[in-house]
Amino acid sequence: MAFNPEMNRRSFIVGGAAVGGGLALGLQIPFGAAVARAADGSPEVGAWVVIRADDTVVIRIARSEMGQGTLTGLAQMVAEELECDWSRVRTEYPTPGQSVARKRVWGDFATVGSRGIRMSHDYVRKGGAAARMMLVQAAADAWKVPVSECSAVNSVITHKPSGRKTTYGKVAVAAAKLEVPKDVALKDPKDWKLIGKPVKRLDTIDKLTGKQVYGADLKLPGMLNAAIKDCPVFGGKLKSFDAAKAERMPGVKKIVRVGESAIAVVADTWWRAKTALDAIAIDWDGGENAKVSSASIAEILKEGLTAEQAFVHNQNGDSKAAIASAAKKIEAVYAYPFQNHATMEPMNATARYTASLCEVWCPTQNGEGALATTAAASGLPIEKCEVYKLHLGGGFGRRGAIHDYVRQAVLIAMELPGTPVKLLWTREEDMLHGRYHPVMQAKLTGALDASGNLTGLHIRLSGQSILAAVFPGALDKGKDPLTFQGFWPSGDQSFEYSIPNLLIEHAMRNTHVPPGFWRGVNINQNAIFLECFMDELADAAGQDALEFRRKLMANHPKSLAVLNAVAEKGDWGKPAPQGVHRGLAHFRAFGSYVAACAEISVSSGSKVKIHRIVAATDPGYAVNPAQIERQVSGSFVYGLSALFMQECTVKDGRMEQENFDTYNSMRIAQMPKVESIIAPSGGFWGGVGEPTICVAAPAVLNAFFRATGKRIRSVPLKNYGIELV
């Protein structure tokens, strides 16, 4: 078989494997009966597992590690079925280019929507089980005994009748020559030994010593560095610039226009690139968008609250009639702002371009997306592109669907063929060019009968659609179903109350601000709207907030269970210490059921101390309870920072906040004690990374109302002079 140079590159050792500390793995693709081997020559036993001669087990992970622990959780899933020695497990990323070459043998790379485990649990376990079957078969073949007489535990294969033993490392080469079995049985969950165990993360040590290489840390031989400024008005253009001074500054190699709207300086060091960039006088053309402000956007959304046309997503009975004939009608308008993901590591990517190959090294939540962007930006066919994934210094949805930073890096690298160029955004650039949490307003109207029963509910959402901007093909006849997360009639983001007359609809009002998937996505505002309003309704009905909810949740036992769990552990209904007040919230999202009970006190009317939060999660199966606990407590940092501190406001068409001084984030002093209840009820696979965020804000807002009598209906609380202490 003849290989062209590109196939050679793909088929043998990938060029990038030698740099960056062995980040990328090299692979031999099997042709005929050849053994597929990893970069170090170790045999591949099925696509998911490489066994080294010293019994080290290397597990392939297609999803990206960004702090959520997916490397560890997914490795546990494979190792459970593989029956290997967990202490010898390592992980590695296959590259997106290898995925293309091997017909997506590792499935989806997207690490978004809390789906790492919930969407790949089946095939990764099968990958582990298939490898185990091949290894045991290889041992049986060597011993010339029936495979049924052999079994494997802890990387050791035993022939029961004779007591003979061997290890995975010794039979791996033989196993690699066998056909991967297609008919693979998985263990019954009751037999799991590793899934469900709170094992330590596999990727900690390098994060403690400074050795972990994030995208921003990458060094390649001959690499140059780039700093960039894109037009601060979204949709605006780079009109002109004067780089006379910058061109003469030390270290500057090239000044590059990037697309229609940006300018970059390439220099020997990033600091020199940034310094020179700051010395360039730039004239931007903001166009019509330069007239837009937060106030003008709010007006457009406000109009949508009462507009005639809206997309209906969840409807039963006749809520308008129920409201018209209600003994008591309750109405409230809520609002949620633009927010930036503010990952600790600003956006960055490194690119090297030649006419025959474009390579990108980047932190990405979706390697395949980064590869597609690399191909589109470079104009090269996808077979001539490759992406090497690096650890992410936070993702939260920013590095998933949109690879604007990859596009820029490729465009810059194309100006310097053959030279790797690392593009790193300043924090300011990161704040000005986010893919923001969409803005949304909501008008909620509830109908109570004379006995205080909720007979009707109407929720009118008005605001921005993410899908319309990012994946318009996913719209359903113009409607964005994702806007209704947590409000669906059924499915894994369903509305968890039974109300006889219900109408939930969305007036889509898009803005020029680019929206994106922000950890939790649309549950963040929807949970505030619904769960705060449920408290408002309970108060209007003169009922306890928990009892009021319970009456509507008889058909939602899993949600009721997590709500009851936090109420019980959170001492709901019991006397609280002087000045301490409690609030509840629950929601269904990403297939999981979550609830929180917050305990707060308020001093001077505006200083909020959160003493503790009891949080319950039912993700179906809890693969690693220790990591779930960390995702849950961390979710409150993300969610409460958003509630108290974070808003990106628009003035003259651009964002006003440029750094953490005006877009703050919680510190340890403000961290409440989080008590997690992990209550996996089995039989389904729910996500963990995102759901809990959305109950943080409503639980605290409901407690704030009990403490002060003030109902706050918009975020962030800093706009009311309220601070978290």
């Binding site: 960004m66 702090g67 959520q68 622990g69 330590k200 993360r201 990727d203 900690t204 040590i205 390098d206 994060k207 403690l208 010593t209 400074g210 050795k211 972990q212 290489v213 994030y214 921003a216 840390d217 060094k219 560095n225 030390p250 060091t269 600091w271 020199r272 503010a342 990952t343 600790m344 590591e345 600003p346 650890h391 992410l392 210094g393 936070g394 993702g395 939260f396 790193l424 300043t426 924090r427 300011e428 220790a626 960390r630 407590s633 961390g634 409150f636 940092v637 993300y638 920072s641 750094n659 953490f660 001084d661 984030s665 919680m666 510190r667 340890i668 002093a669 961290m671 004690k673 989080v674």
Partner: protein, 149 residues
């Protein structure tokens, strides 16, 4: 030419004296464990020690570090033996994405030097690093464990 002492080694750097210490460490010296997060001394990802005290290296010109003893995250372990704070971090499985943790650990080491058995209030006052993943609950537990180690 500016002479820096970083982790016990001397580096003579041909560098603009106004360059922030952070970028001298990352780009000239080549130690990338110290992170860039904000550039305005808000987030603490760039925390290093200068003569034993924690400082935010993004806000200090490299000229101000000349002749001072600088320690970065790479200089914390003694050979293959991790510092007790690193050990506590490992035992408590603290990092999530880990990007802020170099700075967090350096701030904690400096705190424990000042206050070997810090109270929660001491921790709240001294540790002001931003962590977007939200590791604070594990950070606090690990600080107390390190103090007892």
């Amino acid at each position: 030419m500016i002479r820096l002492n970083i982790n016990g080694k001397t580096h003579d750097l041909d560098i603009d004296p106004n360059t922030p210490l952070l970028w001298a460490i990352r780009e000239q010296v080549g130690l990338t464990g110290t992170k860039y997060g904000c550039g305005v001394a808000q987030c603490g990802a760039c925390t290093v020690h200068m003569d034993g005290a924690s400082v935010r290296s993004c806000g200090i010109p490299v000229s101000a570090a000349a002749g001072r003893k600088i320690t970065t995250i790479e200089g914390l372990a003694k050979g293959n033996v991790m510092h007790k704070v690193q050990k506590a971090w490992l035992a408590h499985d603290v990092p999530q994405c880990g990007y802020c943790q170099s700075g967090m650990i350096m701030a904690v080491v400096a705190l424990l030097r000042e206050k070997p058995r810090p109270t929660n209030a001491d921790i709240d006052a001294a540790i002001t690093n931003i962590c977007r993943c939200g590791t604070f609950q594990q950070v606090r537990a690990a600080i107390h464990a390190a103090a007892k180690a």
